[in-house]
């Protein structure tokens, strides 16, 4: 048996005349973890889709156990023992775990068109035990947390004896503890003999898990070797094609003492409790918390998307009751949501109209009146340019065709036409590659320098420490601690974040 389970040989693939994979030759090691990294659009997903039978290569071939492997459909791939654990999970939320696991072939009672539920339950229990998911096989998937769903999906992969398991950004919606549990499980799968491909933007995770690392850039394999040959900085330079000296831009201006957003005693039962803080002009104020700490919920309340029972929110010294998105916008607030696909963007509509949407009423005499299109598109063009959104034609190109980083820049761009005085950003770098991350930090930095106050919510402590002037740490819906930049200390911050949460 060779120590390569699956190999790509001179793989070529183009979409609409654009070469997205160029002569890829790569072996997936047997019984090991291969970390696959690259910026969005580098070709990782396409490569995996070839393996999964979603697309067929234009040239070259794949060998599985040294035999030609050419799956035509995803179920061919399943039959060959290849399982996908997707970023967006592929379970039927209205069915139970057991039903999901057996969806492709329910065990029958002999001779009868009835399901052998007892057998289904017993087998499912085995797989659930194997992934350490402590719920009953009959539990509906919709009742599970994102992390638990992930485990259920892995259990499904185990059910058809997958030999190669592909994890595509598996940790984006997991809490720290769930992530830990997933890593332990991956370690165990490896020791049981499975081969694993692990795709992630979170480079420290890749370093920790992988035995080998492969780096893709612009459809080419730029590096492949033992993990020991890589450092985070080397990976980043390989991915972006240049050396990056620093991950975070230098702060170009200091915060002032003028308050722009004052929050006093904001409470909503079961969600947030007695939130007090002040955001100043030119300040980047970080909010760190684990999942479920109330950080994103607080953002929604401040922006008026959700209700709060008590407390007062003032912008530029003026309190406003009954907040709504429109009122918040009129008061000078902006909100970059953590969920850009469902809440941030109109995916089917052009980049220009997405950027224009928020400030739109300011470009017409009346809401039913004609938009002054000259000025409107000029200023949108200016914003797109200042954010360096990569697009041939922002008025024609639909925003969904952009990479994650450019989509995120578009979400930020929506708010810039109105020059907001308060910018709430929630997980602005989620699913964004390293180069674009740096750009987004710089944009926030520049906005702060121009006098905006920025509330930067994130679950990535590193980036908050790199970018913020101050940091609030939330847990259980309350602010547990406030740190000044000079007092940033990873251990103390994490301890505060884990307080109450255990």
């Amino acid at each position: 048996m060779s120590d390569v389970i699956l190999s790509f040989e001179n793989i070529e693939k183009s979409f609409f005349g654009v070469r997205v994979l160029k002569e890829i030759t790569l072996g997936v090691p047997r019984g090991k973890v291969l970390g696959l990294v690259g910026e969005n659009g580098a070709g990782k997903s396409t490569l995996m889709n070839l393996m999964g039978g979603v697309h067929a290569p234009d040239g070259g071939q794949m060998l599985l156990d040294s035999k030609p492997y050419a799956p035509r459909t995803p179920s061919d791939a399943n039959d060959a023992g290849i399982a996908f654990i997707h970023q967006e999970l592929n379970l039927f939320t209205n069915l139970s775990i057991a039903e999901n696991i057996f969806i492709d072939g329910f065990p029958r009672m002999r001779w009868l068109p009835l399901l052998n539920r007892r057998h289904m339950r017993a087998r499912t229990q085995q797989f659930l035990d194997a992934v350490e998911l402590d719920v009953a096989p009959d539990t509906l998937v919709e009742k599970l947390s994102p992390g638990e769903r992930q485990l259920a999906e892995i259990a499904k992969a185990l059910s058809f004896d997958a030999r190669i398991i592909i994890f595509d950004e598996p940790t984006t919606s997991l809490t720290a503890r769930e992530t830990e549990r997933l890593f332990r499980l991956i370690d165990r799968l490896r020791s049981d003999g499975a081969s694993i491909i692990y795709i992630s933007h979170i480079l420290p995770d890749v370093l920790r898990l992988a035995d080998e690392i492969a780096v893709l850039r612009d459809g080419e394999l730029v590096a492949h070797g033992q993990t020991s040959e890589f450092t985070i900085n080397r990976m980043i330079s390989l991915m972006v094609g240049r050396a990056i000296e620093q991950l975070y831009p230098e702060r170009s201006a200091a915060p002032t003492a003028t308050p722009v957003l004052e929050v006093q005693g904001v409470s909503q039962r079961g969600i947030v409790e007695a939130i007090d803080f002040t955001l100043h002009k030119g300040e980047i104020l970080g909010v760190f918390g684990l999942m479920g700490s109330g950080r994103s919920e607080l953002a929604r309340i401040l922006f008026g998307l959700d209700d709060h029972e008590r407390g007062q929110i003032s912008v530029a010294g003026k309190p406003y009751a009954r907040p709504s998105a429109r009122r918040s916008i009129d008061a000078g607030m902006a909100f970059v949501t953590e969920n850009r696909r469902d809440e941030g963007l109109l995916m089917d509509i052009s980049i220009a109209e997405n950027i224009g949407l928020v400030a739109l009423p300011h470009y017409a005499a009346a809401s039913a009146g004609a938009v002054k299109e000259g000025r409107y598109y000029d200023q949108i063009g200016g914003v797109a340019e200042s954010l360096a959104i990569k697009s041939g034609n922002i008025r024609q190109q639909a925003v969904k065709t952009l990479s994650g980083g450019n989509q995120q820049k578009t979400v930020i761009g929506k708010w810039l036409l109105d020059k907001p005085s308060v910018l709430i950003v929630d997980e602005p770098t989620r699913g964004v590659d390293v180069g674009a991350k740096y750009e987004i930090y710089s944009i926030l930095n520049d906005l702060a320098a121009d006098g905006a106050g920025i509330l930067f919510i994130s679950s990535e402590l590193e980036e908050l420490m790199g970018v913020c002037d101050r940091m609030l740490v939330m847990s259980n819906g309350e602010i547990q601690a406030v740190f000044d930049r000079s007092a940033f200390d990873k251990e103390r911050i994490l301890r505060a974040a884990f307080r109450e949460n255990g």
Binding site: F16, D58, S66, K67, P68, F303, L305, A325, R326, S328, I329, D330, F335, T337, D342, E343, G344, L345, L346, M347, D348, I349, E353, G356, L357, V358, L360, P361, Y363, A364, A366, S367, A368, G369, A370, V371, E373, A398, K400, T401, K414
Partner: protein, 370 residues
């Protein structure tokens, strides 16, 4: 390993063949794709359809027949424009036919000049709104304008009701307007006890039947409204709000779009345009009819969707609807000229609407692939 080697040449050969095939397929696909995504697809379809049928039924190109097609288009177009607004905000308005019925009764009740007591004595409006001598404005020069205004107003009110239920109470549009359809058509029948109101003023009837040298009045009015609607849907703030709400309501909310107001407005426009259609349909028949438009729903939704307006929301143009209505009226007309039985006409029309829905899905997919 042996096996793999033996298979190799075969595989390579089949791969080249597959490559050539896929290249040819790629070209047809590109052409098809371009055609499918073209704004004028339905117009081309109508022209091709017309030209194909011409040799078989030469009558289809007779001036009188073209005149018929041309005058049948406009009332349907008015209603379909209303539906377009609602489809764009990812709704659907099934209550349009009942709006048409109700407003035709309301308008006729205001302006009729004579009523038969035998038929109308039992109406709840008898002695309250109208009597033997007709409606409250019978014979007045104000009768027609006031009646039309009342019709548009009632259409707008029902639209407001539908829109409020959908946007504020978050009820599914299908349910709201389905119930609306039952409720308002029953209400129209109740108001006049299923009688048709005739004896409408001459000038009103002329709206439906009159023409300036072969061009019906309805063309000028509906054409102007179509242009106004298209302006509203392309140049204004409101336009962008309509599409934003239809594409993704949550994004629209977060972006400060007054979602509730936009949805209510879409349904109100749907009601008003249904009322405009009702003016022409009822004027053409010279009667306010509580069953007016009862079979029109499929035509309206069918024509709008054939035009290319998406049932999933966020996509639609008045021009597409014009083409859709043209195609639909042409289809209907040709099936009649072919002397097909009624059942065949329905079967063919149903299939065409189904095809349009399938086409909508295909287009959406194509667009999704970028």
């Amino acid at each position: 390993m042996m096996e793999a080697n033996v298979n190799e040449p075969n595989r390579a050969a089949s791969r080249t063949q597959a490559g050539a095939q896929s290249a040819a397929r790629g070209k047809t696909q590109r052409v098809l794709r371009k055609l499918l995504l073209s704004e004028y697809f339905v117009l081309y379809l109508s022209i091709v359809y017309f030209l194909v049928l011409w040799p078989f039924i030469p009558r289809i190109a007779s001036p009188q027949n073209l005149g018929n097609i041309f005058s049948n288009m406009w009332p349907l177009l008015a209603v379909a424009i209303g539906q377009t607004f609602v489809l764009i905000v990812a709704g659907i308005d099934l209550s349009q036919p009942s709006i048409m019925a109700l407003v035709s009764v309301v308008g006729a009740a205001v302006m009729t000049t004579q009523l038969d007591p035998v038929l109308f004595e039992k109406s709840p409006l008898w002695g309250v709104v109208f009597t033997e001598a007709g409606g409250p404005l019978a014979g007045s020069f104000l009768a027609v304008p006031v009646a039309i205004f009342a019709m548009l107003l009632v259409g707008a009110l029902i639209g407001w009701f539908n829109g409020t239920a959908v946007a504020r109470l978050k009820m599914p549009p299908f349910m709201v307007t389905l119930v609306g359809m039952m409720f308002f058509s029953a209400f129209a029948i109740y108001l006049v006890k299923s009688e048709n109101i005739i004896h409408l003023p001459e000038s009103y009837v002329l709206l439906g039947q009159g023409q300036i040298s072969f061009i019906p009045y309805s063309f000028f009015i509906v054409g102007a409204l179509a242009i106004a609607a298209q302006w509203l849907l392309s140049r204004t703030v409101l336009a962008r709000w309509f599409y934003a709400v239809g594409t993704n309501m949550r994004t629209a909310t977060v972006s400060g779009v007054p979602v509730v107001r936009v949805i209510v407005l879409a349904y109100m426009l749907s009601g008003v345009f249904a009322a405009v259609g009702s003016v022409f349909y009822s004027a053409r028949l010279a009667a306010g009819r509580p069953t007016l438009g009862a079979t029109l729903l499929l035509d309206v939704v069918g024509a709008t969707v054939i035009g290319g307006t998406s049932l999933f929301g966020g996509k639609g143009k008045i021009m597409w609807t014009v083409f859709g209505v043209l195609f639909f009226v042409l289809l209907d007309n040709s099936l009649n000229l072919l002397n097909l039985s009624y059942f065949w006409v329905q079967i063919v029309k149903g299939s065409v609407i189904l095809m349009a829905a399938a086409l909508d899905v295909a287009r959406t997919r194509l667009l999704a692939r970028g």
